[in-house]
Subunit: 398 residues, 4 copies
Amino acid sequence: MRRPWSIDDPIDAYRSVRARTEALAAPLGPEDQVVQSMPEASPTKWHRAHTTWFFEEFVLAASVPDHRPVDPAHRYLFNSYYEAVGERQPRDRRGLITRPTVEEVAGYRRRVDERVEELLAQGPHPLLELGLHHEEQHQELLLMDAAHLLAQHPLRPAYAQDGVHPTAGSAGNGWIDHEGGVVEVGHDGAGFAYDNEGPRHREVLLPFRLRDRLVTSGEWIEFIDDGGYERVDLWLSDGWATVGSLGWEAPEYWRRRDGEWWVATLSGDRPVGRDEPVVHVSLYEADAFARWAGARLPTESEWEVVAREHWTGDDRPDETQFDGSVWQWTASAYLPYPGFRPAEGAVGEYNGKFMVNQHVLRGGCCATPPGHSRPTYRNFFPPASRWAFSGLRLAGDR
Amino acid sequence: MRRPWSIDDPIDAYRSVRARTEALAAPLGPEDQVVQSMPEASPTKWHRAHTTWFFEEFVLAASVPDHRPVDPAHRYLFNSYYEAVGERQPRDRRGLITRPTVEEVAGYRRRVDERVEELLAQGPHPLLELGLHHEEQHQELLLMDAAHLLAQHPLRPAYAQDGVHPTAGSAGNGWIDHEGGVVEVGHDGAGFAYDNEGPRHREVLLPFRLRDRLVTSGEWIEFIDDGGYERVDLWLSDGWATVGSLGWEAPEYWRRRDGEWWVATLSGDRPVGRDEPVVHVSLYEADAFARWAGARLPTESEWEVVAREHWTGDDRPDETQFDGSVWQWTASAYLPYPGFRPAEGAVGEYNGKFMVNQHVLRGGCCATPPGHSRPTYRNFFPPASRWAFSGLRLAGDR
Amino acid sequence: MRRPWSIDDPIDAYRSVRARTEALAAPLGPEDQVVQSMPEASPTKWHRAHTTWFFEEFVLAASVPDHRPVDPAHRYLFNSYYEAVGERQPRDRRGLITRPTVEEVAGYRRRVDERVEELLAQGPHPLLELGLHHEEQHQELLLMDAAHLLAQHPLRPAYAQDGVHPTAGSAGNGWIDHEGGVVEVGHDGAGFAYDNEGPRHREVLLPFRLRDRLVTSGEWIEFIDDGGYERVDLWLSDGWATVGSLGWEAPEYWRRRDGEWWVATLSGDRPVGRDEPVVHVSLYEADAFARWAGARLPTESEWEVVAREHWTGDDRPDETQFDGSVWQWTASAYLPYPGFRPAEGAVGEYNGKFMVNQHVLRGGCCATPPGHSRPTYRNFFPPASRWAFSGLRLAGDR
Amino acid sequence: MRRPWSIDDPIDAYRSVRARTEALAAPLGPEDQVVQSMPEASPTKWHRAHTTWFFEEFVLAASVPDHRPVDPAHRYLFNSYYEAVGERQPRDRRGLITRPTVEEVAGYRRRVDERVEELLAQGPHPLLELGLHHEEQHQELLLMDAAHLLAQHPLRPAYAQDGVHPTAGSAGNGWIDHEGGVVEVGHDGAGFAYDNEGPRHREVLLPFRLRDRLVTSGEWIEFIDDGGYERVDLWLSDGWATVGSLGWEAPEYWRRRDGEWWVATLSGDRPVGRDEPVVHVSLYEADAFARWAGARLPTESEWEVVAREHWTGDDRPDETQFDGSVWQWTASAYLPYPGFRPAEGAVGEYNGKFMVNQHVLRGGCCATPPGHSRPTYRNFFPPASRWAFSGLRLAGDR
């Protein structure tokens, strides 16, 4: 879907994004909003406060000479990882911050909103757009983290009756061929993009092909039934060690009940839909599945040069499922592009310092805000991560 | 203080205890009530629900033929450790149960209260008294766990302006002598006691003496200043290893600020009061302090035979601080008394199965409900535990 | 068996003990002697060097004015835990000391032996007797640790064809009754004893009885077959957690092969002998077995007052298996006796600082040097330990 | 230096490589050869036996119809990670295999050597060359692992008086420029190479430059003195976490003594040589140093296209230190080249399954056998590894 706001109307854009966060948090009570279900996940309340702090720190404090912090403690409590800003609450202890309350955080949001809107009334702000995209990222994280929290509950309650989850796509079963050669990849500078999407640069590709749809849960059940989680020859060495130490037998959130696979989703516990894209698999599992299927994962460049031809980004059905369903693991480690240089100052910490021990995912997912992603977008997670809405598309040589 | 209820008036007793739990929870919002700050601590909400489940399981379900559970899931969610009752939520994952909400738990309490009161209207119930003492234990745990949670917050907020903490006692500085010999220890069967307090039995004591007051925070600062945490010769071997691995330099919740010691309490962050009993020290620290002071910890029998002569249990000031200030570590491992046999059935799991790797504490503390403790009461914690209101009294040979 | 040496002939005693250590090490090659198979175990080479260092430090250096260390590095490398002596190689890194070589350690022993014998030629030495008993303790540890190392090898090789292991005892099946009352326990000061065996003191016992033999491996197989390792009601809470986390299904070193139980011993892999005493069980397992059998473990005092009536200590067959077969877990935590005071100086660290988190074992075992133990001897290990030659005898109330 | 053997003379080649292994092991006694100093390192004895097993399994057993194993247990004991061959001794428990002894392993080597030479007398063998390169890799690992073991000893003994360590190189201080463009990288198929070095393929490079020498220990001391290990802005996020958790303050094996830096080497403890290449640094440290120096690490393609112009591979001094001094961390994750396919069968496990969570190092080091490396050689280690002879060369954009 198209992005429902434009940076050309800053106040409207700001209100639109901020309101969407509040709408996403609304189905969650104070108890749900404060708990941290694992070190990598953050409480809803923290997401709401942190995105607000981001505007307070990088927009208000940076631009309003006499800005007085709403609460000086927020700088410590709600900084995520900006070392240049100072000390902060350790990530794995965000769930211990029971104060300010959820209601107080709502008040914090309102007070910052008032001031930002006052500022925007005077004209555009250079970091507004980054702040809005940043908040949209946290909208997706909020849903991912809520899904994780609720899945830990023995009753696997729903976030909402119509909570998002990937839906069945096209019944396509073919390949999209590409002849390879010297191609250009990376963002060309038109419109917003994160620093890690550039610079645009040339690469050489061999001829290859990509499947015209995502791997489905039905195919994944075949993989399980064929002993996929028990055959060492299918796995990377680190992947096999992880299967053993974590006892993986199926994607995250799957549970077998009376011979049927069920999956905890934001809509609650549901039977696994065989035609739906498989989701909540790690890079290790995606790689093993591809080997089992006699295929491989695409590199991020292969993915990008094909996806930009098929990207819809609007209301037309995306027949090839390049955006809007599940993030797609690639064979590419998350590394800087040739000539990459992080931005100056604290916002330069946004991406560059995470460029090790992670793999790139491309596309977007059902939890991604409308219009937030693009063909050059580089998402990334460690290879054992499963709580993102992560699936895969097969590739092969020609 | 005296116990404010009598089992002879069951409905009044029940209402009194149940109301006190709700009053203790009242200063805590939903966010505070749901978070688990460490594996050993439980959320307030869980304490409120678990004590209710205890009545539902051992009083209602055991005695009302057509009892229908308020919610069948509660048996799984709010069982603590009764293996005979069935599977249960793992202890270290109690903080993940965001549902039922705090408000729903309040409703659960009301519904069980109605039914229990109906049942009690028909006559006394054999497990009512155990259930009330059990809930009183959780009242103390609720405060201990809340204190731990709030102390993890970087701002160390208060539970309440007048939240309990041990207060300065007598200025006594003498010893209470005892000539030893064959003594009787353990509960004699008059009035309520837990199974682990009996059978009453004889022991032989050498002549000994106990200090007539608790060790104070001022003395503890002397210990610190004399290198107490750095002198290996003062420590048990396991204690020294713990000092090193956990980096202990002072009691739990102490923090040095501008050369002064501050302590996080239920009343918030306060300067350490030198005349107050030291609290939140482990058995290891208590033992090392005693060695430093040229003394030793009392055995639980030594403590008991002296304490029963000085026990007040009412409104008279307890000049010797045997009850109502801080729990007092003893040199005794927590083991069954001669002839001990646990009760039959699930309630037999109450105490016996924990009789290893723990040390006995005696007395009671500022967070103990009025009248809950007695001279034969055996509290117990692992030797490295510090989050109980635990202090010490010195002993010596004569 | 009787002790083969007398302190009245110091040089002979010294030679006898020292030679026995070398004889025990002889079946082990340099590879076997250097490896540390777990943090709690020590290499054979280390035992040989440490016992030598003990004589060098506490006999030679303490008494010979111009003593020059054989090698100054030994004080660091081969001190075990004497904090008063100074820094030392961490216990869990003893297996990294590949130098000095096994041959060099033999030379170290010879050089210290020469000097000690020179000193002894001038008269008795106050710490000689402690040093000899200390070395005898390490003789047993050497065998325990070698048994552990060899059992880690997939082929489970033998230490020697006739390596010690407990042998079948009497076919007794009765009880030894004791009327209880005020008894005296602890060492009375005649002959050598460790500090932890005294002071002798009075205790009150209820009437009780002890089995006239040890629990056998055949009985243990019944326990296993009856689901002993799967029935939570039989276990202490910490014991059950250990069963789960370590996956215990049988005593240490047991392995099922084609439906039969085999056990790795110092004589190699052998079928479990049903009439032999069970060995290599933890306190947790011993306690669970006793509960399963409708009995309990004896306290150390109960054990002692009976054992001293049945102790053989010589070549007569010990029909009641109180000494010389397996160490027997007691229900008693390892704590100081009333009035206990550790010795002054470094040797005061011998016992006292370990008096927490351990349980007492009594008797002696097949690996204990002849005459080394006595009815008051207090051995001790943490409750989850299994690599000692530890078994059990049942007790009950009357 | 040139490789001292040619596959064209198979028996001579075999003897040459096998003899070199024995020569490298010779300075180490049985104690040194059996101990495993960390899970990632292997005992010398294991290297000697494993390389022998490789020939027995992949040459003898694969080609001699009636081959009877020298000892059937070796298949279990000395397989490294070939899942297709079967179960094996876990990597982190290689140090527990005290049997066969070092002497018996020498005998194992001789018996396999006899049989292999008999086989080779009949003609060339397709896996001989791989086996020889494999054994050469283990020659380097043997030295790396021995260096690690000896550095754990508090006295930091020498492997040999002239044990290898990197020596000071050219005094160069310039840059080597490259204009970028479409280049070819990867092995072209002439001569031996591992599967991971191909296929040769095209890549696009931006203009760049490489330093004409390695970073020195003197420069590293400047980095330390400038707070390099304390400035979070210099580090990748995972790197900074590692600095904190492992307490890094300098390269592995460095220790400060009286204000001077010393380093444990195969020649023993030595003062750090300021003109020598820094060695035993992790990818994290190399990356942070490069950032501190205003430069970056080269990609493996950048490195390769320059190095092949400067590679000496013979006795001429390598002025630019591309080979033979220290392995050089690159910015490239270890991933398959386009079109990469592992070999069929067990030897296909040689490289491919490790292609995640590692970074590529290029060049070779002082411990690499003469002629073993080449410009296309891809070594790899996890980013926190430091026990390889790993250093770095700076790169920059033009």
